[in-house]
Point group: C2
Chain length 752, copies 2
């Protein structure tokens, strides 16, 4: 069979047919698109019959395929990836036997667009000259960045300019004291321009905008982790404790100075023996009526405050301690305690030790603090939720001590969201560097080629980098929504937002660590050198899984929130509270699923947000239902409730995770629906699909166990995930540029 | 219903019945054990009828369970975990209403032993006083250590004593120059006592024992990663290259000095632009007949040697370069090149730059090396596999240049096994520290208890630490076998051993990194402090996934080895070689499976090595078969072979991983069978079961997709994995002590 046996009209479809049949993923919809393309063409009966038979065949014979391949290779046409419709142009060149193409063939164009095939799907199939492009400019990074910045474009742009100045250029500093001095100066520099106080009211130098503060925080992470955390400790934790737990007298006395960093402070909550279980802290704050003062004391040698950021620079500490008034313990309260005088000398009764070197964040001065009967005035009690009046009597607007405690802890939620945002920035930065390296680095080639292949063109590399890129997109918009919701929430909505923050903080910080590790490995030995910045991010972000709430503890709290439909106090370790509500979950009848979906494997279905939503919702509801019923079963047998919860601990961890993923997907998908530009909306929908399918794939065994998906569907999902990564490959540089990371932050020897 | 309604004979079974029915895992075998126990007892007809009805019931009613619970709680007996048979004693105390137990009830004892229930399964079920033990001394760490040391107990013991001296005590050093000086002194110290030369023959100061050297290497890792790697570079890579690639003249001139570290050297293979693709290195070694010398040259500015360990201390380098003789390139060969004179000054034409700070291993001096027409005598060519004779003619005992190159590379295999061993030691050390912390650290409690719970008693914590402990056991014995096989292997067996080494190096270094991360998080913020040693291990072991072969590349090489049944040159990138053999895999008919296993979920079956072996083998064979058939399909359609392999790249990665796991399990299980002591053999079998079930669980979606396991079986496996972790919980301290890590290596502030 020779080329000349085909008419020009038939010939021009041959590359398309070859591409379609080379792939594992020929679906009925691909067949129908192809046929629609044929309908648009003016073909003879014979031509149409041949073409239709080839597309209708279950699979053309290997002989025919080899013949087609030969035709294409021997036609000596060039594949130009930068052509507007590369496969159409290529096919027309072949059919017309001419390099120049004038009028674009509308049928071919229709098929090419609607199949969504891109040069990187097929350029390796042909032994032809390729004019390659390593990345496409089809999408605009600038437009993506505008979507990312959302409402706070002005603030973010101004801030990015700010952090691009020399003061914020990164360098390797091994000595912790030198590093800390640098970071302190950077924090003071930012404070001067009002960045620290952004979340406080205008009367204290701020703009009263927590989400804008969070946007600044996440951009700061591109510069350096230590700077970000020191910034967060000073303005978010220390300043935030005054703002959220104190009253006007405290605001007036301290908030402006905290915000402009002329009063450096720390947040002394964690103790050596009490981290996750804050409620059990041993430090006491005893009210002494005679002197009208509160005496802070560390009872045992291991009851010191530990890991306290800013401990070596601070002159004041917000100390969390058991408040004892007239012999009664009213639970944990926060008290402002001066720890150093103006000259920097420790106050009498205060001992502070350096925590020493850490895996990362060595620019943050963490320390241990002991108090030996340190007296402060009664006014130093941050008294929004609990006070001692002038008669020495304890009063509180919240009668239930449980509720009071958790209301105070609730003020940490903003910090938790910021931690998730910071970790995500670390992942974005690492991905940007790894992608830029992968678009420069070449290794291995086929014997026919002179040049080695870009490592970005390896399927394993696409999977390891593009899947997490899709996740960063989803998480970004989920967190943006959460911080907005948080900033306008009322008391009734708080429990649910706290649950969401716990789930997302855990899920996203774990994701970020895995991703940064993947990026380090994707850059090989080069990723291990500090000069290329990924190693540093890795060391810094590592601890994000632990601080502001250990992930394993948080994810269980989130699960408990779900079990009680957000009705119990968040953070509560009172199991009876939970049990009250568990029964309600058992009446949930939406734990069955649509059996029609079980075997559906076509592209449209796998791309359909309705399928994604149903699958993610089913998992969350089913896990809620089964956890509730297991707990109830144990209780009925007389098992103590604390133990019943232990029995289902791993189940709760799965539930918390499922909740986080569903929440993120919904937030992202809703956002994607609001994008006006069709092209960008389609891109975001595709990213959403990659995220959802990846989640289903990662939990495929669970879905398979329950018959929610069939074995074939599970395989189809895995293939579709790989395919989506390939489809996004040409846009990968645009996708990471879309993060809007200031250039100097990702400038490294390997991305030059 | 009151206690008095039951006879003493019945009463003594009540705690057993309660424990059995509280659990999710009542299996037919548990029922039959209970009945056998009853048969041993002398019971009245009535008593037997009641007891049989309770155990035969599908589930006793909740009311009965609550009554039983109440009886137990109100009996006011004490549960003493250190009793020989705690539940038997507890039950007898209750039935006899007396704290003192004289003769042990044989029926109860029989049931307790055979159900394998331990206090930590049930102590939380009762509201009774508990005399707890945090770890059991049922097994002996010393006996386990003897099994671990195997043949090399004498060498290992002597070496552990050696590294317990002050010279090898670890401290935090931030400055790389100070750190490197310390490490160099340590290496020289070890060399003096012959540890470096162990793998070389006695005529060069060694004992000709590679496995013993590897045992020393893995123990050295407990001290410090930098020391281990510097040691490996000097003796394994530099000395090893002389030993394996050179001939007697090189051995006589250099090997003794390399072994006693009076000649420091490096192994200059990797280049900035060529890491994984070593064959493509650009450095040239051109033979110049006129001067009878070989001229080493770095052609482009980025063609320098990179990341070369010992580069800043070495006086000689084994340089891998394209050997050009009389205008013909004979491929990559190794040449000894002096890089510094005796005073430490660089030789003319040699430029060396420090690679700077890394994420870890900062005690190793990695550098970049450029050569500018550096001439060395012809004799400096390491000429075992390729030589230039006195007439300036190239000769080689291996005609095929491909085979020659891969034979040379094959000498790296010993190093690869050592890298896996080193990474595994890192994981063991981190696990030992994390376990000891978890046996001290308490957090949270139920309202009834004064003391908070040990975090080791949380199911999530058991899963995160005990599962990886089981894996360290399996991997240890798999590597011990591999190094033995390697040391006695002949040329024909080499391909298979190279494949195994590639698969295990990748699998075990990835595992080690994940495990160390888990340990860091399991120790919370304390794990992040350098003083507690885990952070350091994490930074050091990180790069083990990249050096001595990037894991993603290695795992694909392993898969290609499988596809060709180890017949092709290992490391070969010639796809045609592979294709020759692919067809053979397609004739494998053992890709069906035993349908009887699909639904079997009982304890005995899940514990049965026959099931484990079949499952792991099925996965490896099935993946081999499907990869081969996909490749063949693509080729038949005319796709270039290089591209066909790219198409199945993620498939190959899965195949390589499946191969590694099967191999490890088989090696471990065979070893376990040889343990004479029954108690220890049972322990090892249990560990093997935990490993195998964990592997099946981690790939459950794959097994479910193919119908190899049913949904119920998948759930049963997950539960069994959790249960096995709980069963091993009392022995966890013994298990990590069994590693035999010298005490000063795991002494940290959190394990005190």
């Amino acid at each position: 069979m020779k080329t000349t046996e085909y008419t020009t009209n038939v010939l021009k479809y041959i590359p398309f047919l070859y591409v379609i049949w080379s792939d594992d993923l020929v679906s009925p919809s691909e067949v129908s698109i192809f046929k629609k393309g044929l309908d648009k063409d003016t073909l003879s009966q014979d031509e149409k019959r041949s073409l239709t038979s080839w597309i209708d065949a279950n699979n053309p014979s290997d002989e025919i395929m080899v013949t087609w391949k030969k035709m294409i290779d021997e036609a000596e046409v060039k594949l130009v990836e930068s052509d507007p419709y590369p496969l159409t142009y290529f096919s027309m060149r072949m059919a017309l036997n001419s390099q120049s193409v004038k009028n674009v063939d509308e049928s071919l164009k229709f098929i090419e667009i609607n199949l969504g095939i891109q040069p990187n799907h097929y350029h390796h199939l042909f032994n032809v000259k390729i004019e390659a492009v390593s990345s496409s400019s089809f999408y605009s990074a600038k437009e993506i960045d505008i979507l990312f910045k959302g409402t706070y474009a002005k603030e973010v742009d101004r801030f990015r300019k700010k952090i691009s100045s020399d003061t914020f250029h990164w360098n390797i500093i091994r000595d912790k004291d030198i590093f800390r001095t640098k970071v302190l100066a950077q924090v003071e520099n930012l404070a001067k321009e009002g960045y620290g106080a952004m979340a406080y009211g205008p009367e204290y130098g701020g703009i009263g905008n927590m989400p804008a503060y969070a946007s600044v925080f996440e951009n700061l992470m591109y510069v350096d982790g230590s700077l970000t955390i020191k910034f967060g400790v000073q303005f978010g934790l220390f300043g935030g404790s005054i703002y959220n737990l104190g009253t006007k007298k405290h605001h007036d006395s301290y908030l402006t100075k905290a915000g402009n960093a002329t009063l450096l402070g720390c947040f002394a909550m964690t103790e050596t023996r009490h981290g996750s279980n804050v409620r059990g802290v041993k430090t006491t704050a005893t009210y002494v009526k005679e002197t009208d003062s509160i005496v802070i004391d560390t009872p045992g040698k291991d009851d010191n405050k530990e890991y306290i950021g800013n401990a070596l620079h601070a002159t004041m500490a917000t100390v969390f301690a058991q408040l004892i008034v007239d012999g009664t313990n009213h639970g944990v309260h926060a008290i402002l305690v001066p720890v150093r005088d103006k000259k920097g000398a420790l106050m009498p009764g205060v001992r502070i030790e350096d925590n020493g070197y850490k895996l990362g964040l060595n620019g943050v001065d963490n320390g241990k603090i002991w108090f030996s009967n340190v007296a402060v005035p009664r006014e130093n009690l941050l008294n929004k939720f609990g006070d001692i009046n002038e008669n020495g009597v304890y009063t509180s607007p919240i009668e239930n001590p449980n509720k009071r405690f958790f209301t105070m802890l609730g003020t940490l939620v903003g910090g938790r969201i910021c931690v998730a945002k910071g970790a995500l920035s670390g992942a974005k930065k690492a991905l940007a560097i790894a992608v830029k390296y992968a678009l420069r680095r070449r290794q291995f080639n086929s014997s026919e080629k002179l040049q080695e292949d870009l490592i970005m063109d390896y399927p394993t590399h696409q999977l390891r980098l593009i899947k997490p890129i899709a996740k960063t997109y989803v998480y970004h918009f989920a967190l943006a929504k959460l911080i907005e919701d948080y900033s306008v929430s009322n008391e009734n909505e708080r429990r649910e937002i706290e649950t969401q923050a716990a789930a997302l903080k855990a899920g996203i910080t774990w994701f970020s660590n895995q991703t940064i590790q993947e990026c380090r490995e994707a850059c090989g030995g080069k990723g291990y050198l500090l000069e290329n910045k990924i190693a540093n991010i890795k060391g810094d972000v590592d601890i994000f899984t632990t601080f502001e709430g250990d992930n394993t503890v948080l994810i269980q709290l989130a699960a408990k929130g779900l079990l009680t439909d957000f009705k119990t106090e968040f953070n509560s370790d009172s199991f009876m509270d939970v049990l009250k509500y568990v029964g309600a979950q058992l009446s949930d009848r939406l734990t069955t699923f649509n059996p029609i979906f079980t075997n559906k494997t076509d592209k449209e279905h796998l791309f359909d947000p309705e399928f994604h939503k149903e699958a993610l919702e089913y998992r969350r509801r089913r896990l809620t239902f089964s956890a509730a019923s297991r707990i109830q079963k144990y209780i009925k047998k007389g098992m103590p409730s604390y133990q019943a919860f232990l029995k289902v601990q791993t189940h709760l961890v799965a539930l918390g995770g499922a909740y986080a993923e569903e929440l993120c997907y919904l937030g992202f998908n809703n956002f994607a629906d609001t994008i006006e530009d069709e092209k960008n909306r389609f891109l975001f929908k595709k990213i959403g699909a990659l995220f959802a399918l990846s989640e289903i794939q990662e939990n495929a065994s669970w879905y398979l166990e329950r018959g929610y998906i069939s074995g074939n569907k599970s395989k189809a999902i895995r293939k579709r995930v790989e395919r989506l990564c390939t489809e996004l490959r040409p846009h990968v540089n645009t996708l990471v540029d879309g993060y809007g990371i200031p250039e100097h932050c990702i400038d490294t020897p390997i991305t030059e």
